[in-house]
Symmetry: D2
Subunit: 368 residues, 4 copies
């Protein structure tokens, strides 16, 4: 069962509410003998941390992670790794007015109808704060994958404004507050988002994540397909409404000739693909090409514009969400998307070597 | 673990290869006391069955399902329901030439690299034939959901040609070989697909599936989110490359005001949403509105045009896929998508009542 | 969830009722490339088959197993292996009188209360017939374990009469109808069981199963302990009421000195234990010593002596179970116990190599 | 997967080492709306707490539990409940001499062989300290079960000395440091254990746990059998080597007439059993009678008598375990056994109502 757990052999269970004393997770199944300290995790949390620019929530959380178990003498021991972050800047008073009313676009009503009782403060369990633990777990997943696998992400669209893929530069991604790979678009977004923020509005976004160095063979034929699990993982991130792999929706408009990636033998005896429409996955199993996924994040529902809603007593109300919010939650979803991709891949590395311990790690084929 | 199983409490395990003696599935966790015979399942299989028009594969399979266990005196007994379909029209000779070569866009290479050994005939386990068992399981899932929940689907795009949503008529869906909801578009597609078929090409497609009458409260907060599991389920269908819920990717271009669905109290004491951008799911939990999902199917990779590839001996080859193929596999994906949606919902109905047996089944709130 | 599935990475799902058309199972997660045909499975089924002596049920079932998927060219393909056995000798008429009454010691009442509807014929799903599929799956598990691991079992007690362990001879086990390792006891049991059978009674039994050649390191620390999963596996066999590992209940009466197995280095650099009170498992993880487990099977509840019971209409009745029954169901539980041990070990071999691919396969330690 | 998690719908994941900063668990799937505070959990921890008599370890741990999530306004919210206990009295120096040597009867060698690296301090993850979190989770499980279900346990044997069942008095259980139900035996054990402790030895024990008020219908037919899961749960407790249900091993010596529990209709329309050899479970499903299980705990392996062993460098050594140890770990296993039984039952209550929401809660049958 997977209410609050993710993965099978590399299994992450998260807990905690936005305004509770702490949030945490347990990573079970991590192989032993991996060097791991808080310093391996903290940089990824820092990328996701709130309060770093005026384009994200002003909540101040140092998000200091502690490892409480599963590591001894600087090495993982194969036992469960418990991670924990204290919540420090919990201004519950900001949320008093939403204790009874249901914010449009939020999980307030659905939690109320499902559970009858809910921790309304900052969205409680449904807060994007939970994603901090995904990022922490993702850092451990990267350790499992090893340095041969590289996972990175970028924001490719805010509102209706997409990046110029011809100008893509990974180095630029870390040089602007948007994880934008293209400097001209980053400037444009700055104006766009500032306008949205000033008008009390918000904007959606599209994120692209990629993994290179992925060995072939990860994934399973039918319901454990690598792409199916990536889709589920990315869709489980707060506010995500769409996921695609490789060409994604655009593949619908292609012909068979233009979509299927042709192959040739490379001089080194490996199979080379002449294109990557598939996004690195065929039949649910990795091909060895880069795994490429994109996902859409809806605009922040917490906005300063009054909205029609109802309250728990069955009265019509108008609601205006004060407090500290991201004008574009898609920005901080970049490190979260990377983390989820890392977790899915780590899980499948373990699953693959359980069933096929001697599987090839490249696409090399025998020459006759 | 979910290599070949799907769902948690309503759990479907499928088995079988395209050209083996039979395919089958085991449905575990179905509640007892539901009336069930082969006649409840066969009509859904007939919708997916090959050979029904010139726009789908000409393989002739009656796809007669047999119930081998779990039903007694016409009622489910709560024990596992085994379903089985004999494979009858297995022309393995059609596939002799792909025993050694890897068809572009297919799972041939990835299965070979992962497993070392594979049943190449018709794609073996990776064949879309497996989806017949999904459709069969979906028919049982509908029984679990009861008549109050209605699940249906339509093809909304072939190649670059989308339906006219203003002309949408569900009755039309069953009146053309494309599950097209709009008669004018159906005529257009007939020409388009005929041209594609004659030129030895193929086309992709987009399918929309909807569930109405879904009670609120289905889904779980974090990794058991209803939308995450729908995304994983749809992405696990052969050839699917993208999934979206509600407004999906289009939500990225919206502002917070235009995206979040406002609410008002209806005279009957229920909460009414003024729009459904969310596709019936907030915070991973159903709102009571229609659940709406779309998914993209890539163009059939088996085409009559020669393609560059390699063989298992590491030689460059040209490959041209003869045999009987769907010029647009998206067509027969409609009943499969419906079935997967039914299975996810049935699973969540069981999960929901395990944790919250007294949950409300409507959005009715107390009036003060 | 594990209603009708067993294991995690080597996962067995069974289906079928005693008097339905067939019984079957799906084995998912089996590694690819293992040689497998029906001939690898049939001998184990033949050991469990009814009708082979007057001491077991006279139901005549050839129990011919068919492999329906997952094997190609004589090798496992890594995809699910479906196995099936037709039910042939279903004399449903024998069971007409128990459609309405609940046999003492059987699952009739509990199925009725739980499910409301049940297939009463021969016990339906609760029949020991299901164990045939465990034996079939166990044959595949042995393939996963390889020839280095040997699993065998023996009956060590019938009624109050235990074998003479000093006279234990594994060769004798296959030479009598009781799987008795000691010829003198086998003769004694023949008289005892004949008397029980003639008086319309039945007897319980204790079975011992052993695995030798088990590598160290199988098992997981807490809830995936090897002994915990063996206990659950053996207790899931029909009519089993007790399980013990190593010294088992007798360990309660030992002192710490007499119970804990001491160790010395062997000349070959491996660790040798000086005794095996632990039954080959410490802290839930295999030590490399033989894994030893015993389990108790209650006496057959279907006897020819009238018993007090009730019927589904709430009336007191007397019930006398006619039909064909084992006077000691413990006998045929020997191959079932072996199979369950094989399945648990195979599952843990896969789990172990997922998490610790380079783990040592012997107890060899470095010499300084 | 269940390395460090237990249960399916009521799912407990524990983490932490004996001498790490803390231990904890996450309880996922708990229904919403249950009143829960630390005060509901602490009394059960206090029963298991070390240092309470001279017959248990002298480690001083207040074992104060904190609830970190999943409860709001005193009610469970349906989201994961994180529990945590700080480790306070971690005298790691006591364990310096076992960093390199493997204590007989402990998991030292098996962890070393499996993982290569281990937290040796106090046994690390394999320490019985982990069972504190089982007891904490068990307290929540009791909330799920409600006041109608009563779970209690007693020590029924220490070494070779069993209680006098004719003198059983539940009130006595809480009045002596052994959870002994019979005052005369408690006195005898005091002398026996004092002698064992003084001689640097230890003793094994047998515990009995019972649940009354269990509704019929809990459990599942084959691999989710209630007795199978109880067996796995109890066997997963540290040092447990044997488990039995109802008459257990003694059932082997019974005849069918003496073992199967007869039934009569009671005046109130419920089915009454005339005996309870089955221990409240038939066919893996609860009958409504008390569920009765017993398990054996081996003698503490940490004793003051020198023992033969080896070290990680492959040298023969003698080892004598200093530090603070229980002369009979079976004593503190009583609340742990109760907790595991509570967790299994809570899990099955949720599973049962998922599949059969309208199941009867008593054995009442219709009268004609």
């Amino acid at each position: 069962m997977s209410h609050n757990s993710f993965g099978h052999l590399f299994r992450v269970t998260t807990w905690g509410e936005s305004h509770g004393p702490a949030i945490g997770c347990v990573v079970d199944g991590c192989p032993p003998g991996l060097a791991l300290t808080e310093d391996d995790i903290q940089p990824f949390l820092d990328r996701r941390r709130p309060g770093q620019s005026k384009f994200v929530t002003q909540r101040q959380e140092p998000d200091r992670v502690r490892i409480l178990s599963g590591v001894f003498g600087g090495l993982t021991t194969g036992t469960p790794i418990a991670l924990q972050i204290e919540n420090e800047d919990q201004r519950s008073r900001d949320y008093g007015d939403i204790a009874d009313s249901f914010r449009p676009g939020h999980a307030d009503l659905t939690y109320h109808l499902k559970y009858g009782v809910r921790d309304h403060r900052g969205g409680g369990r449904s807060s994007a704060r939970e994603t901090a633990m995904r990022v922490a777990a993702g850092a451990i997943a990267r350790k499992v994958l090893g340095t041969g696998v590289s996972i990175r992400g970028a924001l490719v669209q805010i509102g209706a404004e997409a990046v110029d893929r011809a100008a893509w530069d990974w180095a630029v991604v870390e040089q602007n507050p948007f994880f934008c790979p293209d400097p001209a678009t980053a400037s444009r977004w700055e104006a766009t988002l500032t306008a949205a923020r000033k008008s009390g509005s918000s904007l959606g976004a599209i994120i692209e994540v990629q993994a290179t160095g992925v060995p072939p063979g990860l994934g399973a034929p039918i319901y454990g397909k690598l792409d199916a699990e990536i889709a589920g993982a990315l869709m489980s991130i707060n506010a995500v409404k769409a996921v695609e792999i490789g060409d994604g929706f655009a593949a619908a408009a292609l012909s068979g000739e233009s979509n299927a990636d042709e192959m040739r033998m490379a001089p080194d005896g490996t199979v080379q693909f002449l294109s990557n429409h598939a996004g690195g996955i065929l039949g649910g199993i990795s091909t060895g090409q880069p795994v490429v996924a994109r996902f859409a994040v809806k605009p922040t529902s917490s906005i300063l514009t009054p909205r029609l809603s109802v309250d728990r007593h069955g009265q019509d109300v108008e609601i205006l969400t004060k407090g500290r919010h991201d004008p574009c939650v898609g920005i901080r979803a970049v490190p979260v998307g990377e983390a989820m991709l890392a977790c899915v891949l780590a899980d499948h590395v373990l699953r693959h070597r359980a069933q096929v311990p001697d599987a090839p790690t490249t696409t090399r084929l025998p020459r006759n």
